[in-house]
Structure formats: structure tokens, C-alpha cells
């Protein structure tokens, strides 16, 4: 059965590691839905959260092959139901059709923040589950989207 799955990996924080990890997916023709990477509390290591879609075979291959990379220090498969996950998004909206108030209300209803604005645009920040971000995008289409920039999901295991 094909489904989305989230892999969290700790890698050495140096050049070329991203290539190795991404190359491993590419080698087998696996698509990466999203990939987020940033330094951990120890600057020697980075953490990547990679979301992709595949069956059980692909999942186990990805995990085992990742484990073989020398720069990969830890690999965890995160349960998408229970993992603590969040995604950030910046959306630049066109002002015109709708009033500023309507747009502000929409952003507020998603607990978003206005990060930048001008006479003819508003840039909003929305965070939350990927589905929430997608719902916002759908609603914002009617207003007019100039640009969308999503961070990709970041995830940690539930509990300790």
C-alpha cells in the first residue's frame, strides 16, 4: 500500500551530505515530497525531515540505505499519525478584489501573522499541519496568490 511517510535523520553538518541523501532517493527513482534541513543543538550535526510517498518495500529500502551512509548518524521512521509535526508557509497575496479587513480576518482565522504589506500586497505567515496550509491556499486563491513558499514538514517523535 502506498502512503506518505516521514523520515527524520541526523547527519553530519558538512557540505555534500544533502547530495548523498537526496541522491539515494533519486537513484531508485523515489520522489521526495518535502525536505527540511537545519542545524541541531550541536552544530556538528544537522537534522533532516524528509516526507515521501511509497509502499512498505520502498520505506524499508530508504531506511536501510540511509543507514548505510557514513554521514548519517541516526534514522527514524516517524509515525505520521502521532509525530509532532509542523510546517511553515509564507504567502504573498494580491490586494484588490477583497478588502484588507477580509484578508486580515482570513489570516487571523488561521492564526497567521502579517509579515509584510504594501498598497497592493500582504505577505502572511501560516504555520500548522500541512492540510491546514493547503486549506488556506485554497481559500486564498480567490483573493489572488502572488507567491507561496513552504518550509516542508518538520517532525519529532511524540513523547520523549
Amino acid at each position: 500500500m502506498t502512503e506518505k511517510f516521514i523520515v527524520g535523520i541526523i547527519v553530519s553538518n558538512h557540505f555534500g551530505v544533502l547530495n548523498r541523501v537526496a541522491g539515494l532517493y533519486a537513484k531508485r527513482g523515489y520522489n521526495i515530497d518535502s525536505l527540511a534541513v537545519g542545524e541541531t543543538e550541536d552544530p556538528a550535526y544537522s537534522r533532516m525531515t524528509i516526507v515521501s510517498t511509497g509502499d512498505e518495500y520502498m520505506r524499508s529500502q530508504v531506511l536501510e540505505q540511509l543507514n548505510k551512509l557514513h554521514d548519517v548518524k541516526m534514522v527514524v521512521l516517524l509515525d505520521s499519525e502521532t509525530a509532532v509535526s509542523i510546517e511553515h508557509m509564507l504567502v504573498k497575496l494580491k490586494l484588490g478584489k477583497e478588502s484588507k479587513t477580509t484578508i486580515s480576518e482570513l489570516i487571523n482565522s488561521y492564526a497567521g501573522n502579517v509579515m509584510d504589506f504594501g498598497e497592493d500586497f500582504i505577505t502572511a505567515e501560516i504555520s500548522g499541519a500541512s492540510e491546514k496550509l493547503e486549506r488556506f491556499i485554497e481559500q486564498a486563491r480567490e483573493i489572488g496568490i502572488l507567491e507561496v513558499c513552504r518550509s516542508g514538514l518538520i517532525s519529532v517523535k511524540q513523547g520523549i
Binding site: 550535526y45 529500502q61 536501510e64 548505510k68 554521514d71
Partner: protein, 548 residues
């Protein structure tokens, strides 16, 4: 991160030395006695150090970097230690790519060292500036660009550790010119922290034992992992206790002696009928140190549909990659096999004598058929003689017909199937055995790819007997064209009039053409001790490799 890899840094030499000097000192400390390499502008500093250290490290100059890679591949397999290849940047480095891939797919520990432009010039498309680490990312076990000389020594040490730990493989180190020329301390006592050892997982041992004991017709499938770990004697014990016949993958040939009565030979697409039949009829396949390549299984979906499979391998990523086993034991065969044998009760199944195949020990006639040629050569040399092959029909004929008694006496490019492997490998094999006689079986197609390595063999006075199957065609492809493409021999006929013995002589080697087995035997007797000897055997263009 870099610092975490090092536990102690004591006893520094007070004088700072160059990066090139650090490299050579560290290679010597790692026990390297031979470097296969080709000079160039971006490794000239390293070559200067090699010049000064010529008494400690022997340098073998091939005709091309690819030849160096194949020679080092054979050298590593035979000496069971990582071997070293050195090449300059740009074309020197890209010429290594096939050799790196060959080492990767056959799990051979080779350290590939390349020079490159200085760090500030990386990526500026300067003369001979290539992102060789980028080029080779999917075909190395690990790789480094040394951007700072302070990391150089531990990177070299770590490269040896990685290449030689667990499932072996190639490690590549790219050293920019300014790092070779810079100066830093050298620590003669540098110690890396021990790699986190993945212990052999014996948790499914009972399940494996129970599957084996329930089985009526078990079959042992022995692969490159058995060759690499020299565990053939344990495989024989397993065969004795269970009655299971043994079949081998190409990389497994030699892991169990051909003369062992329960050894059925190679299995897979070009396997012996006995091995293929035994595997097909088995109710349990005990697969050891194999990766179930498509050449061994055919269509993976249909392979072993109604058969149980126990898969034992050191690489967890191989378990379930091609074939989903019923039971897996992941780890080193040297740990797992003794544990398995200890738990197993003696099943004493009767061995079906009919299944045994016997390869003809002497030629059946005086005709130059591939089988007769191999048989005659086999009869001439002792069981310790290393045989290398190129890739194609002759490779399969050798795999099917030569009786290999010892592990690592057959060296072939199994995974990559790189034509042109054999002569370079012959050079490496002969050097690893102190300049001893080595046999190369090759075809005219393969030989034409890297025949320039004759030069290397002549320089080092290596007695390589080259058995050249000349059928005037790229036989393996022709065979497929015959069977599946209505005999459309598209670009497979080699319309050349190359005089191969004369070619050998031109290189300073010797050679002859033989017309029958009697002449072949005479020629083998005459093969000189101090240079290669090419024996051209003209065979029929339509000889085919039997498939089972």
C-alpha cells in the same frame, strides 16, 4: 564533527610537513606497500613524495587510470587489504569512474585518491577541474573532499577503516593541490575511535534452524560474501549436515572447491543444469552472502515462488531488496555460520547422486571448442593459479567449465560486468602473488578495450598467460541477437584483421596462434616466465553459452 572522530592527538612530530608527505606517511602507516597510479599536474606533489619513498612504496604505472583501478581491485581481493589508486584531476579522475563502479558493485575495498585544483579554484571550470566527488557519489561507499589540511590525516585513516569494515567497498578522497602543498602536523600515533560495530543479529537463529530441519530438499546458495570471508569450510559442513547441494553465484565461485562432491557449480541464468534444477526443485534456499542479482534469479517476482528462503548477509539493505526472505540473519558469516551449525542437528538426508555434475577434466577432442580450451588450460595449471576474466561469453564459459578449488582464484567483474577488467586485474593479481603466473581468459572484444595494459605487464615482467578467444564478434550480444533479434547482427561483428600474437610481440610480450588442443598444450608449456604470453584460439563465431 571532525573532532569527534579523533580520540587522541598525541606525540605530534614537532616539525610541520606537507600534505603530500602526510598522505604518504599515513599510507605507509596503514600498511600500504603498493600504489597503482598515474601522474598529472594535480598530483605532482604526491609523486614527488613517492619518488622520495620509492624504497617503501612500490608504484605501478598502468597505461590508463582504468587499468590502475582494475589492478588495484584484484590486488585488494587477493591481499584482503584495501589497495590504493592515485590519479590526477579531470580526465585522470573520470577515467577511474568505471573502476570505482566495479569495486562498488563487487564490494572491493579500494582507496581512490585524486588530486584536484586548489580549494579556491574548485568549481571554476579551470583546466582539468571536475567535480569528481559529485560524479562518483552513487558508486562509492564514502567520499571526501579535503578542504583543510588539518583534516587530511584522519580522513585517510578513516577512509581505510570505512573501506574495510562490514561490507567492503571503495572510498574516494579528493585532495586539492593547495592541501597537498600546505603544511601541518603529522601524528604517527593517531587513533580513530572504533567504528560502531553492527553486531550480527542472531535473533532469528531458531527460526532458521527449524526451517532447515523441516526442509526435505534444502539448497545452499553461496555468494561473494562466502568468498570474501573464506567460510567455504563452514558451508561444506552445512551441506554435510543437511544434505543440501551447493550452488554458487559468479562471485561465489571458488568459495567451495569444485571437486567437493556436493558442489553443483554456478547457478543462475548461465548456471549449470544441475545447480539450476536443484534450486528450482528445492523447498528451502539457504542464501549466504548473496544479493540475488537479476542474473542469478531471472525475474525476481517468479523466483522461489513456492520455496522458503533464509537470507544471511552482512548488509541489512540487501535483506528483502530483491527477494523477501522468510527468515533473515544479518551479520558476518564468520559469526552466524558457527552459531547456526552448533544449533543444527544432523539431518543426514541422502544426497541424490544423479544431481552431481562433473566438469570434464580433460578435453574431449582436439577441437578448439571453448570447453576444450578451458579444460586444457585448467589441466595445465595448479589449483592456486589465479584466473582473471574479461566480460562476455568467455567469462561464462570459464565460470561454467573451469574447476576452481580455492577462493579468490577467479577474479571477474561480476556486478558491473566491465569489459576490459581482465588484463588490469591480471597485473594486480600477479603482483599480489609476487609476480607469479596468472591466467587471463578474454575475448577479442574485451581484449581490445584495455590491451594497452600489456605494457604494464611487460614492464613488471609478469608471466600472464592470455587465452584469447577470437571469434571475430561481440559474442554475448551476438548470441542475444541470434536468439531474440532475428539474427540482426547490428555492429557486433568485429571486422578487423588484428594480428594478436604480433601485437603482443610489439609490446615486448610473446604470443602465438593455435589451431587445436595439442598445439594449445604445447604453447602452454612454452609460455615464458618473464613476460605475458598471448595464445590466440580462433573459435567459431556461432559458439554460444548454454543457458539453463
Amino acid at each position: 564533527m571532525y573532532l569527534t572522530a579523533i580520540t587522541t592527538c598525541v606525540n605530534f612530530i614537532n616539525m610541520k610537513i606537507t600534505g603530500a608527505d602526510i598522505l604518504i606517511k599515513e599510507l605507509m602507516r596503514q600498511g600500504v606497500d603498493t600504489v597503482f597510479g598515474y601522474p598529472g599536474g594535480y598530483v605532482i606533489d604526491i609523486y614527488d613524495e613517492l619518488y622520495k619513498n620509492a624504497d617503501n612504496i612500490r608504484h605501478i604505472l598502468p597505461a590508463s587510470e582504468q587499468g590502475a583501478a582494475f589492478a588495484a581491485n584484484a590486488y585488494a581481493r587477493i591481499t584482503d587489504k584495501p589497495s590504493v589508486v592515485l590519479a590526477t584531476g579531470g580526465p585522470g579522475a573520470t577515467n577511474l569512474v568505471t573502476g570505482i563502479a566495479a569495486a562498488y558493485l563487487d564490494s572491493v575495498a579500494v582507496i581512490f585518491i585524486t588530486g584536484n585544483v586548489s580549494v579556491p579554484m574548485l568549481g571554476q571550470d579551470s583546466f582539468q577541474d571536475i567535480d569528481i566527488v559529485g560524479c562518483t557519489l552513487p558508486i562509492v561507499k564514502h567520499s571526501y573532499i579535503v578542504k583543510d589540511i588539518c583534516h587530511l590525516q584522519w580522513i585517510i585513516a578513516e577512509a581505510f577503516q570505512i573501506a574495510n569494515t562490514g561490507r567492503k567497498g571503495p572510498v574516494h578522497i579528493d585532495i586539492p593541490k593547495n592541501v597537498q602543498q600546505g603544511t601541518y602536523d603529522y601524528d604517527p600515533n593517531l587513533k580513530l575511535s572504533e567504528p560502531a560495530k553492527r553486531h550480527s543479529d542472531l535473533s532469528a537463529l531458531d527460526k532458521a534452524v527449524s526451517l532447515i530441519e523441516k526442509s526435505k530438499r534444502p539448497y545452499i546458495y553461496s555468494g561473494g560474501g562466502v568468498t570474501a570471508t573464506n567460510t567455504g569450510d563452514l558451508i561444506i559442513k552445512l551441506s554435510e549436515m543437511t544434505g543440501a547441494p551447493i550452488g554458487m553465484s559468479l562471485m561465489g565461485i571458488g568459495s567451495v572447491p569444485a571437486s567437493y562432491y556436493n558442489n553443483l557449480g554456478m547457478s543462475g541464468m548461465f548456471g549449470t543444469e544441475a545447480a539450476v534444477t536443484a534450486m528450482r526443485e528445492a523447498d528451502l534456499i539457504i542464501a549466504l552472502g548473496v544479493r540475488f542479482s537479476d542474473r542469478a534469479t531471472g525475474s525476481a517476482g517468479k523466483f522461489a515462488e513456492n520455496t522458503s528462503v533464509i537470507h544471511i548477509d552482512i548488509d541489512p539493505a540487501e535483506i528483502g531488496k530483491n527477494i523477501q526472505p522468510d527468515v533473515c540473519l544479518c551479520g558476518d558469516l564468520r559469526d552466524i555460520l558457527p552459531a547456526l551449525l552448533e544449533k543444527l542437528s544432523d539431518m543426514q538426508l541422502s544426497i541424490d547422486e544423479k544431481k552431481q555434475t562433473r566438469i570434464s577434466e580433460s578435453p574431449r577432442s582436439d577441437n578448439l571448442t571453448p570447453q576444450n580450451i578451458i579444460s586444457a588450460v585448467n589441466g595445465h595449471y595448479d589449483e592456486n593459479t589465479v584466473v582473471t576474466t574479461d566480460v562476455g561469453q568467455h567469462q561464462m564459459w570459464v565460470a561454467q567449465n573451469y574447476r576452481f578449488e580455492k577462493p579468490k582464484t577467479l577474479l571477474s567483474s561480476g556486478g558491473l560486468g566491465a569489459m576490459g577488467y581482465g588484463l588490469g586485474a591480471g597485473v594486480g593479481a600477479s603482483l599480489a602473488h609476487g609476480g607469479k603466473r596468472t591466467v587471463l581468459f578474454t575475448g577479442d572484444g574485451s581484449f581490445l578495450m584495455n590491451l594497452s595494459e600489456l605494457k604494464t605487464a611487460v614492464t613488471h615482467k609478469l608471466p600472464i598467460t592470455i587465452i584469447l578467444f577470437n571469434n571475430g564478434t561481440l559474442g554475448m550480444v551476438r548470441q542475444m541477437q541470434t536468439l531474440s533479434f532475428d539474427k540482426h547482427y547490428s555492429s557486433t561483428t568485429l571486422e578487423n584483421n588484428t594480428d594478436y600474437p604480433a601485437l603482443a610481440k610489439a609490446f615486448g610480450a610473446a604470443g602465438c596462434t593455435v589451431n587445436n588442443i595439442t598445439e594449445l598444450k604445447d604453447a602452454l608449456e612454452k609460455a615464458p616466465l618473464d613476460r605475458p604470453y598471448l595464445i590466440e584460439c580462433k573459435i567459431d563465431i556461432d559458439e554460444i553459452v548454454e543457458t539453463s
